[in-house]
Symmetry: C2
Subunit: 416 residues, 2 copies
């Protein structure tokens, strides 16, 4: 049995791993804009024509030259001749001369020489004329061609994860397709002699393979396509052939170990025996999940995750997630990052001991007190426990050098 090397810190291991895949060429594809929600932009979107495309009225009213009525008062009202009417949808281009106005509806073409719109309530209409005692400033209720967006400017920078309003904006400037990153395909391989598939009633000593569904869910939330292979028994050749087959059709492979010690070694040996494989770390000083295997085969990431549900999820979140985000072309602007990783300040409700030299990921259950203070109750349950997975609201990270945290300590909780 190969001994697990626990020398790597989480940070070193993760950085080496990200460095290792930094040259991976990310592929793009064109998608119709109505299917682009939550996809990640591969290139900047450039404005192709001015928006608005012409000068227009921002309200119903009367388009006029503001200079014509700049001296209008109760004592000396100004009278303007109505030379026509423009409605939304009308293509007519009118032009006004001094002391003339045009009845206009919101969104319609501003007549040539007009520079403002007067509200209907500020006007006394009389057959072909209007009388007003109000003056307006130039540009009142008017928007000019290109005032919103100018031809050639960058509308949205690449790497943004598209929000509903971005889809609307992109349609608004006349694009019908966008170039986005291809979704990375992640194959999840559940291994373990004790595992049975979901549609089989497990015998009393068997376990339904559930990690694959958890990993698939995370993969899809991050923006990948997750597929779970059939269960592979703890046999070196079968594990090797499953990884090899998965690599043919995937950008990343997750081998979800059985809970027996043997299966972990099979993953290591299988990866080592594949051509162009490279072991980045086998064993990281963290808890739970110290037995993780970080490798690449032909430049593609292959991660061996421990089988216990809590270790499995923790290792995926610590290593799999950042790697997959990189492959998915994930947003880098700080505010989109904030949306993806939600952190809360809380106060620890109980003392926790933490192993020296290991980064410790402790699940917590949160309670909000009446004064809005949030208390975090640590879940120190065993890593095989389903209850800690499901009943915890988030996780706190205790650095390797820290050996204890105390009741009342302020902690940062990553919600999950």
């Amino acid at each position: 049995m190969a001994r697990v090397n626990m020398e790597h810190s989480v940070e070193t291991a993760l950085n080496s791993y990200l460095e290792e895949i930094s040259d991976t060429e990310l592929l793009s594809e064109n998608v119709n804009i109505e299917e682009a929600l939550s996809r990640i932009l591969y290139e900047d979107i450039i404005v192709k024509k001015d928006h608005p495309p012409f000068d227009r009225a921002l309200t119903d009213g009367y388009a006029l030259k503001s200079g014509d009525i700049s001296y209008a008062t109760e004592a000396s009202p100004v009278i303007l001749r109505i030379i026509g009417e423009v409605n939304v949808g009308s293509k007519e281009k009118l032009s006004i001369s001094p002391k003339e106005a045009v009845k206009i509806s919101k969104g319609a073409f501003l007549p040539e020489n007009a520079d403002a719109v007067l509200l209907p309530e500020d006007v006394e209409p009389e057959k072909d004329y209007i009388k007003t005692v109000k003056s307006v400033v130039p540009e009142n209720y008017v928007t000019r061609q290109g005032e919103d967006l100018k031809t050639g400017e960058v509308f949205i920078r690449k790497n943004r994860k598209l929000r509903p309003q971005d889809i609307g904006g992109i349609i608004g400037i006349g694009c019908r397709q966008v170039k986005v990153y291809k979704k990375p395909v992640v194959t999840i391989i559940p291994t373990g002699n004790e595992l049975v598939p979901l549609d089989v009633e497990p015998d009393y000593h068997q376990i339904i393979a559930s990690n694959g569904y958890v990993l698939k869910g995370f993969v899809e939330q991050i923006g990948g396509i997750g597929t779970t292979s059939t269960i592979v028994r703890d046999d070196l050749n079968r594990v090797k052939s499953a990884i090899s087959k998965a690599l043919e059709v995937s950008d990343m492979v997750l081998v979800s170990g059985g809970s027996s010690t043997g299966s972990k070694d099979n993953t290591l040996k299988a990866v080592e025996s594949l051509e162009n494989s490279k072991i980045i770390a086998h064993g990281v000083s963290m808890k739970p999940g110290g037995h993780v295997l970080l490798a690449t085969v032909g430049g593609k990431p292959v991660i061996g995750l421990p089988g216990h549900p809590v270790s499995n999820m923790t290792c995926f979140n610590v290593f799999g997630k950042p790697v997959l985000r990189k492959l998915a072309g994930t947003p880098r602007s700080f505010w989109q990052e904030r949306k993806e990783t939600i952190k809360l300040d809380a106060f620890l409700a109980k003392n926790i001991k933490s192993p020296e030299g290991k980064e410790d990921y402790v699940r917590v259950r949160l309670f909000e007190e009446e004064d809005k203070k949030i208390l975090a109750y640590p879940y120190t349950g065993k890593s095989s426990f389903l209850s800690t997975l499901v009943k915890s609201h988030g996780v706190i990270r205790i650095p390797a050098e820290c050996i204890a945290l105390y009741e009342g300590d302020r902690v940062e909780v990553m919600l999950f």
Copy 2:
């Protein structure tokens, strides 16, 4: 033209609206667990059998009675007889007598009378015997039947939005289907003479209908099913028949107004003329979006949204979102709420004036400074502008009674 009544505050209008739909009966459906990600639980999930289902070993090693080796030391090692071996997947139920042990693998059945597991490295194996100089505490590396979850306990409370790990947990306790809230169907009706569909090249005075795509995106992110109808012209009868048809197949209807004044009135008149209609508010003291129409027809919410993209989205977020969340059976626990609405503290980078008596929603662009302080630059662009929609990162809410905020003021930004 019906005058817009601006008397309602946002809070009054929203509360009346939520109150109005509070009796709506929410429907449920059973879905397979592998399709239940992000669905909202309709009923508590109860544990049906103990987990673990039997006492088992948490590591490879030797199962024994801790009392047998409690006096083991270097000076007086203890010798135990190996009476057999249990592996994961083996169904054999062994039983040990005093001074006996069983070789065991991780996850395997704990033999009867054993109460601890000793690690292989703490043992000197000899043919049918092991010798040890180490003592162990009772329950060392052992987990007991039901220690994780007990039959009959509540595993997950209803109304939780299911996370990947919840799916894993539910599979782990042997459920293959869950009862979740049915997704509410929301029909979006784009109205306006100036609108053309996405597949038509707009003439210079026309606009591609984009609000429907934005609303559909939000509806789906909240957990509804969004469908956008064909564009309806600004004609009372057509608007009326479109709403009426939509109500037959939907739980909620959004009428997205054209930008002309006429279309807003058509929505009001159309709704008023339908049987069992009730106007909750027509006009709310907010900016942008003061012209919103909040109504029900036969108890189903019908919202008339202004056509300008910024007003459209703001009104949907302020009124449509909470109403739809209610219909979708959305989670109520504070930590899941935190995940859904992400707020950041920022400092205003410029003074803003705000209209007195109106709740003001100001879009902001965020910049993170080197010291992690976040600056919020207000976007005071016109509500027809696509640039403010796309380039802003979030929104700040200025209460009705506040008429200005100043550079350096601390503000809470809702990211969108």
